[in-house]
Amino acid sequence: MIVTQAGSRRVLAWDAVGLVVRLGLAAVWLLSGFEKASDPRETIVAVRSYELLPESLVGTMAATLPYLEISLGVLLVLGFATRLAAALSAVLLLVFIGGVISAAVRGLSIDCGCFGGGGTVAPGATTYTLEILRDIGFLTLAGYLIWRPDTPLSVDRFVRRRSDAAASTTEEETVE
């Protein structure tokens, strides 16, 4: 935003997009994480319904997953290690997409439990395609942030500006 050249408008536009994407993905993780964390019994049932994990690991996964999501949400809200958080988000989303596809392929009738809830549903009441498309949408957000992790109102940018200012005078050059 300090840039005063002709490209400033474009920079502002990129900034706006980046901010919306980052906070959007953060909201997704915080919402889904808190929903899962608020009903641990339901989350256990949801994890178990995928029939992918041995019973001994179901509880661990159900306990870990909500808080992994929340931690990614927290990092993204702060704009702290944005690229790392986005990369981990992408990995997690790929795992989710894989899980839903595998449930569909195996003919399970389950709700993905993506935002809490979960467990089985009546045959014909599954929404796998929608769930996968939604996850691909979130994956796009994560991909964008891997590509352009520098967003306004972020710890990352604050820290980089400071270290740039301390190290040299070529601040403008490093603004992408």
């Binding site: 049932v45 306990a63 870990t64 992994l68 931690s71 040299s168 050059e173």
Partner: protein
């Protein structure tokens, strides 16, 4: 792999520190001749910035990993508290008796001395997996509270999950079986609650959308193994209470719906006409401590 430094590729820019990021900027210490010469001063400064940035990025990344780990560890601890089995080790109820009225089974210990018991209405479906989690977590605490005369439980078995059972009728048949045990053996201490717990036990409860569930004969055998009489087994295998279970589902669904403002889900605990929040692991302890 064991040949010393053979892992390094002979070609390509020789990045010091191998931090991966911004390779085009960080190779300034030894520019491979050409156009770089014209911008030497600037690029050196830029490289310094870039190295600082790389180090900063590493630190930020490491801190981020620590933050993630910390949140997950805190979460697991919280989760363990939230899902901890209450009164683990108490085991089955030994002093409770059951009476059936209009398809609702009341479990209590009227012979216990002391304070008048708190009364809750418990709504479950025999196929409901969260009910099984509920039973696993709170079953023993409920058994103990009932045995000690501190709690009376009105058990309402709903049947809305019938269509998701293999036989399409499991919830109703299991509810009917429970009515049989209550009617025939309700006065036998602990038998009804024992059968109730057994139905939700891991390995016994059929899965939703599964490829099998319990037949009437299997339900009768399970009841017998928990101390039910031949009369109860006979009642189960003959399907004597199917209609009663269906009627009870209707009336109990109505009362539950009234209490919750239209939301019918299981497990639900209702006290004094209002749903109880059963997410806190100490909900029953709190309820029992009420004046």
């Amino acid at each position: 792999m064991a040949q010393g430094s053979s892992g390094r590729k002979p070609t390509g820019p020789q990045n010091k520190g191998s931090t991966g990021g911004n390779s085009s900027k960080s190779a300034a210490s030894k520019p491979p001749k050409g156009k770089q010469q014209s911008i030497s001063r600037k690029s050196v400064a830029q490289a310094r910035t870039s190295n600082t940035n790389n180090r900063t990025q590493l630190i930020i990344g490491a801190v981020a990993i620590v933050v993630i780990a910390a949140i997950i560890i805190i979460g697991i601890v919280m989760n363990q508290k939230a899902t901890a089995v209450q009164n683990a080790g108490y085991g089955a109820s030994t002093k409770s008796v059951a009476t059936e009225t209009g398809g609702v089974v009341t479990v209590s210990n009227p012979t216990a001395a002391g304070t008048s018991p708190k009364v809750i209405d418990l709504y479950e479906d025999a196929l409901c997996p969260v009910c099984a989690e509920f039973e696993a977590q709170f079953g023993q605490q409920i058994n103990q509270a009932v045995d000690e005369g501190k709690l009376t439980v009105n058990v309402h078995m709903l049947t809305f999950l019938d269509p998701r059972s293999f036989s399409q009728t499991y919830s109703t048949r299991a509810a009917a079986a429970m009515l049989c045990v209550a009617q025939k053996d309700g006065s036998q201490s602990g038998v009804y609650l024992g059968f109730h717990s057994a139905l939700f036990a891991s390995g016994t409860q059929p899965t939703e959308g599964g490829t099998s569930d319990l037949s009437d004969q299997q339900l009768a055998d399970l009841a017998t193994s928990k101390g039910a009489s031949d009369a109860a087994a006979q009642c189960i295998t003959s399907g004597q209470n199917i209609a009663a279970a269906t009627a009870a589902d209707k009336s109990s669904t109505a009362t539950l719906s009234t209490a919750t403002g239209g939301r019918v889900g299981t497990p639900t605990v209702v006290q004094n006409g209002k749903p109880v929040d059963i997410q806190p692991p100490d909900w029953l302890t709190t309820l029992l401590a009420q004046q």
